[in-house]
């Protein structure tokens, strides 16, 4: 049935097929995976700073958690947003386990002195090059749309800390995006 309907099957239909666990569940999962993994992968990629092994672990764990909690998912909601939220959670967990989140460090946001002053980093690279604490808050707030309260809850920091991190993160991104020559004049 799923193969006949192809891309027109809704996410809810596919999720129900996966949840039933009978014949066709794996096929339904394959369609869901193909639809939503690229965005979840991108979310994890940004939070984890492009560490491929960590990102792949995060996406795999994201799907395991998602399939395990299909029963509690509200039917009719945006499956992709729900999955990306899980991916963000998982990625944050990975960063925290590796003790890579340091919100107290006074990180130098300037580019390395040896960098080519005329080189302007693209935004994606600039974000990836941020310290973990800055990058995580910036990605969650400015790209994934989380509030400071939500970020604070997930990162176990105060909302004010999240705001301060975002402020510094934005400044750091600007420093990376602007040519050095502008900074020095």
């Amino acid at each position: 049935m799923l193969e006949d309907l192809g891309r027109s099957v809704t996410d809810d239909d596919l999720a129900r097929a996966v949840r039933r666990g009978r014949e066709g569940a794996e096929r339904a999962f394959g369609i869901l995976y193909d639809r939503h993994t690229p965005r979840a992968y991108q979310t994890a990629w940004r939070i984890l700073g492009g560490s491929r092994a960590d990102v792949e672990d995060a996406v795999q764990e994201t799907w395991v958690r998602a399939i395990a909690s299909l029963d509690t998912r509200v039917s009719g909601g945006d499956f992709g947003s729900w999955l990306r939220s899980i991916a963000a959670h998982v990625a944050i967990d990975i960063v925290r386990k590796q003790r890579r989140l340091d919100f107290d460090a006074n990180v130098d946001v300037a580019l390395d002195e040896n960098d080519d002053a005329a080189v302007r980093l693209d935004l994606e690279t600039a974000i990836a090059s941020l310290p973990n604490g800055y990058r995580t808050v910036l990605v969650l707030h400015d790209i994934e749309g989380f509030t400071h309260e939500e970020i604070g809850e997930r990162l176990q920091i105060a909302a004010g800390t999240s705001k301060a991190q975002l402020f510094k993160a934005r400044r750091a991104v600007r420093a990376r995006l602007s040519p050095r020559i502008e900074e020095t004049t």
Binding site: G21, Q42, L123, E124, R174
Partner: protein, 120 residues
């Protein structure tokens, strides 16, 4: 609020140009194909796809094998039932002959009683 007239932008907010650059960021990143196989394998190992019904070929093969075994058993049963019994008339004759011979050969006959008469 701090007067930032000498600054080109409000440090706490993105400019329109910066917002446009954020909006232009790709929302997708193609994962390696191996990741899908790996994820499916893990989910299968954890039993999420473990309740699959057997394939049609396996079911048909099983039914054919069961039918063959049944047919073979039925054929053996029928052949056993159809086998003709030994004619009843022949049995008593042989038994009778044997029955007569057996006691003579195997059971010792008691000696006839002897009467001794003494005449005075």
């Amino acid at each position: 609020m701090i007067d930032n007239e000498d600054r080109p932008f409000d440090e706490n907010e993105w400019t329109a140009e910066e917002c446009a650059r954020f909006a232009a960021l790709s929302a997708h990143r193609i994962p390696p194909a191996e990741l899908k196989r790996r994820t499916v394998r893990v989910l299968r190992e954890r039993g999420y796809f473990g309740r699959r019904t057997p394939s049609t070929g396996l079911v048909v093969g099983g039914l054919v094998a069961a039918a063959a075994v049944f047919a073979a058993g039925a054929a053996v049963g029928y052949s056993a039932a159809e086998r003709k019994p030994v004619p009843a008339t022949t049995i008593p004759v042989s038994f009778a002959a044997n029955r007569g011979a057996a006691p003579i050969d195997s059971i010792p006959q008691p000696a006839p009683a002897t009467r001794h008469v003494v005449w005075y």
